[in-house]
Symmetry: C2
């Protein structure tokens, strides 16, 4: 049986060396499928899949609690910004293992809890879901496996259509979670009358363009592979981001940790001076995830501080950002211009590619990194 499974698995990889690589390159399709489940392209609006069944009355929601583990937790950290900005709902995100054991104080009315899990079987996330249901909260689940326990027990299922993910380090499931959550945020913003019709159309169009922009970004593969040969020599890497890109810095660091075993850590750029800048020297590459948006000036200031201390800066940005940064970054990764709303999804791709190529360069077992399991179904 083992031999057959191995042969089958090898065949499924197609021309790719690893499942993780194949899954990174599937993201134009997996995001398009997921977005397609939510967007009504003709009307340029969002329809939640089960709105006719277990509808959420967004006008009644006064606070949103999101609970997840690992990579899925970082998806909720991005969504926190979206729901606050697009729908005006105060959001709290929690790590499931922390949430479930602390008997959290929950709002007495108007609370909605969203749980995110690729497998839909993550033990701590499931326990958190059951706690919230017992407390009388309305629950929704963003899951990739519609037959999973979390999908069955949540009031409302918000599916991701990433397809089966084999690589232990999550990639296409993460961008699918983000795509689904972005669509839900638009729906909430419209229902709460926080989004004008024009604003809704802008966000829907931005989401529609995402798959094409991911394709363009994947063409950076060789460029990032070359950079990875340099990063693979490091023992420590810092990832920095601001706003909605802070969780992408966390996710980039997690990816590198998981498969290359390099100690990477993500930090909010604004916290740099409150501690981590002490680590900066010529041995520590610092990856900035920073498109040319309203926070770019602040990020550039942090970038210059790092460069002034001879830190090796890798700037992942767009044409305008790279131009503004001048000669300070040692390495530049130029992504296509995009609407700021979808930028965190797009900027997930280069940090995935970087982790992947560093791991390949280091010769680790990319699809089955040491000590890790695909789904953490026990505590």
């Amino acid at each position: 049986v083992t031999i057959v499974q191995g042969a089958g698995a090898a065949a499924e990889k197609g021309n790719y060396r690893h499942f993780m690589q194949k899954e990174i390159f599937e993201q134009p399709d997996s995001t398009a499928r997921t977005i397609g489940a939510y967007l009504n392209v003709l009307n340029q609006t969002v329809t939640l899949p089960e709105e006719n069944g277990e509808a959420i009355d967004w006008k009644e929601i006064t606070s949103l609690q999101m609970v997840a583990c690992g990579t899925a937790h970082y998806a909720t950290r991005v969504a926190e910004y979206w729901f606050e900005q697009v729908a005006g709902i105060p959001v709290k995100t929690d790590i499931a293992s922390e949430f479930r054991y602390r008997d959290p104080a929950l709002p007495r009315t108007g609370g909605l809890a969203i749980f995110v899990s690729q497998s839909g079987e993550t033990a701590d996330t499931l326990a958190a879901l059951r706690y919230c249901k017992a407390q009388g909260l309305k629950t929704a689940a963003v899951v990739n496996v519609p037959t999973s326990t979390i999908a069955r027990e949540a009031d409302l299922v918000l599916p991701t259509l990433a397809g089966p993910e084999i690589g232990v380090a999550s990639t296409k499931a993460f961008t699918a979670q983000l795509s689904a959550l972005a669509a839900v945020a638009i729906s909430a913003g419209r229902a709460r009358e926080m989004l004008s019709r024009d604003a809704e159309i802008r966000l829907v169009r931005a989401l529609t363009e995402l798959p094409r922009l991911i394709s363009t970004t994947l063409a950076l593969d060789e460029r990032i592979e070359a950079l990875a040969r340099d990063i693979a020599k490091a023992t420590d890497v810092i990832y920095l981001g601001r706003g909605v890109h802070y969780p992408i810095a966390l996710e980039g660091a997690l990816k590198l940790k998981e498969i290359s075993y390099i100690h990477a850590e993500g930090y909010a750029s604004g916290e740099l001076k409150h501690g981590p800048i002490a680590l900066i020297d010529e041995e520590t590459p610092v990856v900035f995830v920073a498109p040319f948006d309203g926070l770019f000036d602040k990020s550039l200031s942090n970038l210059q501080e790092v460069a002034a201390r001879r830190g090796e800066v890798i700037l992942i940005s767009d044409e305008a950002g790279l131009r503004a940064a001048g000669e300070a970054p040692a390495h530049r990764i130029e992504l296509p211009d995009c609407d700021p709303f979808i930028a965190p999804i797009l900027y997930s791709v280069p940090v995935q590619l970087l982790a992947y190529h560093v791991a390949v360069e280091k010769g680790t077992d990319v699809d089955q990194p040491r000590n890790l399991a695909k789904s953490v179904t026990v505590e």
Copy 2:
């Protein structure tokens, strides 16, 4: 002038080698002074300093927003658990540099915002305070400098009486912030009728005992100094904690980063299997901050996973916890038994001492670590 200042500073250090060391050892006094400003020992109750002036009507508070940077942010992360458990108030904590730039969605009614800053001049925290005031939120500030800008602008000042802190890495200001926030949480719990009179007396007594327990813990100095000679050889260290000790793991890692330049990272123990366990090998010490409380079994399970992968485990716990862990930890630090309510304050002390002695062993400039300033008064 420089010479006079230097001489003065040297004199102020007394018998201590560094200000940081002196400040760590001042904590029985600095916490006692701070607690004394809040506790009415005779009546075994808490009186907030300015309750007669700008009183907070805790019964009207439906959500609490806490904003700070760096070490002060970790104080709010501990307080998040206290306010939720003792006072039943949903709490959201935020890094000031993130909060201020994202136009956060705030509750329309019943919101209170608490800002924590040693200097009272932290630029991002001040900007966040102004934002909340402009949004009509009631504001309170936990500050060590009563004449500071943040103290002047907040509706209510909640002072810490740590005395001047000279070492760049915050120690006694942190435990004073925790002491003040613990007292405020008790006051809120009583006002909201979430605490029985017996429960209030238990928590007040626990706080009263803290200074003595810190004294006992400081006697571990030589033991931790010996351990530090081993840890100083590491290039990377992981700190793990659960519940209210998760922020202490974050703070322990930050201390080590700041002054020893070792790349230390704090993580919630329950997230270990979602990524960081891939980093574990015999070269990476893992510090568990885990008293024998209701979560100890879960922490012990994580500890055994690390030990099974030949990670070098340092367990900071109490007698019962160390006994339960048996031979799995390579190193054991035994703290006195204490009430779980004050445990995160007490467990701050050994992680400070560990960072201090590792830095001394490495020969870094403990009081003036590279790249860092005492107060971050610019963005």
